[in-house]
């Protein structure tokens, strides 16, 4: 289990993380989302023990990830712009990772084959996507209990993205590991994540089970015979509202059946309920947060 306890991290005068609290259970794939500059990468670096937190701590399996070095053997951080030493190839990198992590040869060969990478070719001749695959190859081969993927799907073509998702499913099934993925591509996250957290203004503003949250936020379309006062919707937790004539489009947070029952009491001519996707969920939560 990963526990992030009141983590504060600032750069110069700017507080990027301002008291982040979050608990993620083992065996889940957690999607970390937020606008650009929200501090997703900073949070991942605090979790992986690269950055020292200004306040608070991060515990994985009840051990401090910054102070206790051994726990980092169970954590792998795949950043968005990997570092490769000059003139290195996959074979030489394998030596590096095998020096510090328990590298699983079977997993290594399987993932190498899946990605179709050449072990002997110099990495500086690789494309951006191939470089990312190289890091992901090692991320999976060292079989961490906590895998942190920063912008994991960036620069990958559709086939590789599909292969990566498949590899991650297999990995979590076999190892009961925890994966945290930050990405701007919410559609990709929606396919793979079971839980999520939105990082906003240095804090986790919303987090929880993705399916439950999606069920809890719905889009409603209503039409009335006569114009109605807008304050009739005050009783709902409205995240977004759009009016065109007497037709209202509303995004309301709350139990779907309960909301429908209350809306019907307003006597609309038409009442349609639509599900939201993860991207809409993020946008409406973000708008709600700003409001």
């Amino acid at each position: 289990m990963l526990e992030i306890n009141n983590v504060v991290k600032g750069f110069d005068d700017k507080r990027v993380l301002d008291g982040v609290n979050l608990t993620i259970n083992g065996g889940s794939i957690f999607g970390l989302v937020g606008v650009n500059g929200a501090g997703k990468s900073t949070l991942l670096r605090c979790i992986s023990g690269i950055y020292r937190t200004d306040e608070g701590n991060v515990l994985f399996d009840a051990r401090d990830t910054f102070r206790e070095d051994e726990i980092r053997r169970d954590i792998f951080f795949a950043n968005d712009d990997p570092y490769y030493p000059l003139a290195s190839n996959i074979k030489s990198l394998k030596e590096f990772y095998a020096s510090f992590y328990p590298l699983d040869e079977q997993m290594y060969q399987k993932t190498l084959k899946l990605f179709g990478l050449d072990e002997n070719r110099q990495i500086n001749t690789f494309s951006k996507g191939m470089k990312r695959q190289t890091l992901l190859l090692f991320a999976l081969s060292v079989k961490p209990k906590l895998l942190l993927l920063d912008e994991a799907f960036d620069g990958l073509d559709p086939l590789v993205r599909y292969n990566l998702k498949k590899a991650l499913y297999d990995f979590i099934e076999e190892n009961h590991a925890t994966i945290i993925i930050s990405s701007h591509n919410l559609k990709e996250l929606e396919d793979i994540c079971d839980s999520y957290g939105i990082l906003e203004n240095g804090k986790i503003s919303t987090y929880g089970d993705l399916l439950e949250s999606k069920q809890n936020i719905n889009k409603y379309q209503l039409a009335f015979r006569e114009p109605v006062e807008e304050n009739v919707f005050d009783q709902f937790d409205v995240l977004h509202m759009h009016k065109e004539g007497s037709v209202y489009s509303l995004v309301i947070k709350g139990d779907r059946e309960e909301t429908v029952r209350k809306l019907q009491e307003l006597d609309p001519v038409i009442l349609d309920t639509l599900a939201v996707n993860f991207e809409e969920l993020f946008i409406y939560e973000h708008e709600g947060g700003e409001r």
Partner: protein, 487 residues
């Protein structure tokens, strides 16, 4: 505290660097006819390596991407640091130890001396690596790290130059004690200690103590700089006060100090001096602004820049003016030369004519023309360092002191006329003093010097060298070859 895994990785990943170091050591050994000279050259190469290897091994600290990789591996920062330092020290000095071991066997220096040598080389290796790594980590990126190593390593040299210029400009006789500067850099101390290394049995306690102090202090600074490092600074401009700001101000101040010290040489008014030196000041100001550009990585100009520069220039000029008017803060008078065993060399010329008494004595020596083109004398004691030290009489010491004081007066004169003598004193405690003196040494004083059996009074002209005897007679010592004719 030490990671075997990381050491193994370093050894494997830096194999080309290690081969390069060994190759240089091997080529040096092959190319050197003299074992001793070969060792000295190799020692110099090892010192250079203590700069280069840490820059390579610790470069990841300055790389934003590499930081993610290296600081997330399951090795503690302490272990990463200790292992890195040990690797650098071994990589820099193992070739030297191997070469020295062959030398030690050939020269049969004995096991005790060999162990002493190993301990001394360990101290040098670790001190230099720790010192240079600390300087390298002052910066936040590779370029700044290299600049910091260069800037801080050269600082004692610039400081020494500034003190020497000030001393020569304002303190009659110079001789300001600059020996402390040698202790401002472990590289200087190591160089001194290095020559002791070759005499393995010698242990210079001062050098060993100073290096040990450097090792302790810089180990602590390196610990703070690396283990407590905010790694998110990697690849960003170096803004810590002891990086560019301190380096720029120290250098600008020292150079301004050197410029203002030259004020004394010129004997002009302060206004004329500033006017004459305006271009120099302007050039320094441009360099100062350029240094700020390197620091900020952008064109930067603030009213503080010229303000600080002008304030520093005025401060140094004011200091120089006080030094000039206070006759070097009275420092020249502070040195009391009651050193009877020091080396005193008083050269004197006779631009205003050779003393009649000496002319008469020369006439008594056949084939020697007293009116020869020049004549000078050398009154000296302990000039030859290979001979046992002699002690001069109180009278002689008083005579030397009289000429020294005359030199001090002459130094602080507003307008100097041509000098006729100069006095060099190398005191027993290793200081050198130099005085230009207006007058020649009088015949009476020459006779007094000649009466001191410890002192040689030598007269030199075109023909040869002569000794002035206590009774005033002249004795031929050496006749120059080109004046001798052979039948």
């Amino acid at each position: 505290m030490f990671s075997k895994e990381y050491f193994t990785y370093l050894f494997k990943s830096k194999k080309y660097l290690l081969i390069f170091i060994l190759l240089i050591a091997f080529l040096n050994t092959l190319g050197s006819d003299n074992d001793y000279v070969g060792l000295v050259i190799q020692g110099f190469l090892c010192t250079v390596m203590t700069y280069l290897i840490p820059c390579n091994v610790f470069s990841y600290v300055h790389d934003r991407k590499a930081v993610d990789t290296f600081f997330s591996i399951p090795v503690s920062r302490k272990a990463m640091l200790v292992t890195g330092v040990v690797f650098c020290a071994l990589a820099a000095y193992v070739p030297f130890v191997v070469t020295f071991s062959f030398y030690a066997v050939a020269e049969s220096i004995g096991i005790v001396n060999y162990v002493v040598f190993l301990l001394k080389i360990l101290l040098v290796a670790f001190t230099l690596v720790v010192f240079n790594t600390t300087l390298y980590l002052i910066g936040n990126n590779i370029f700044d790290g290299v600049v910091m190593i260069g800037a801080y390593s050269m600082l004692p040299v610039v400081l020494l130059a500034a003190i020497e210029i000030f001393s020569d400009s304002y303190i009659a006789g110079g001789g300001f004690d600059t020996s402390f500067v040698a202790y401002l850099s472990p590289v200087f101390i190591s160089t001194d200690l290095f020559f002791d290394l070759l005499e393995a049995s010698i242990v210079d306690v001062n050098h060993v103590a100073a290096l040990t102090a450097y090792l302790v202090v810089f180990s602590y600074l390196l610990y703070r700089s690396y283990v407590l490092r905010a790694v998110e600074r990697a690849g960003t401009p170096s803004t810590k006060i002891y990086s560019y700001p301190l380096v720029i101000y120290l250098y600008v101040f020292l150079i301004l100090f050197m410029i203002s010290s030259s004020f004394n040489y010129r004997y002009v008014s302060l206004g004329d001096f500033v006017s004459d030196m305006f271009i120099v000041y302007l050039m320094l100001f441009v360099i100062y602004v350029a240094a700020y550009f390197v620091y900020k990585r952008k064109l930067y100009f603030s009213y503080k820049l010229p303000l600080v520069f002008v304030a520093a220039a005025l401060l140094t000029l004011g200091f120089s003016n006080i030094a000039r008017s206070s006759k070097g803060f009275g420092l020249s008078q502070m040195y009391d030369h009651n050193d009877k065993k020091g080396q005193y060399v008083l050269y004197s010329y006779f631009d205003n004519g050779i003393p009649e008494e000496i002319k008469e004595e020369f006439k008594k020596i056949e084939d020697v023309d007293a009116e020869d083109t020049y004549l000078y004398l050398n009154v000296s004691i302990n000039e030859n360092p290979t001979l046992p030290k002699k002690e001069m009489s109180d009278d002689s010491l008083a005579l030397f002191e009289k000429y020294r004081k005359s030199g001090i007066d002459y130094f602080y004169k507003e307008y100097r006329e041509g000098q006729n003598s100069n006095l060099n004193i190398y005191s027993s405690d290793g200081h050198r003093y130099y005085y230009a003196i207006k007058e020649s040494v009088s015949y009476e004083d020459l006779l007094k010097f000649a009466k001191d059996p410890a002192i040689d009074v030598i007269l030199v002209n075109n023909s040869g060298e002569y000794s002035l005897m206590p009774d005033g007679s002249i004795k031929l010592l050496t006749l120059y070859m080109d004046t001798v004719t052979y039948d």
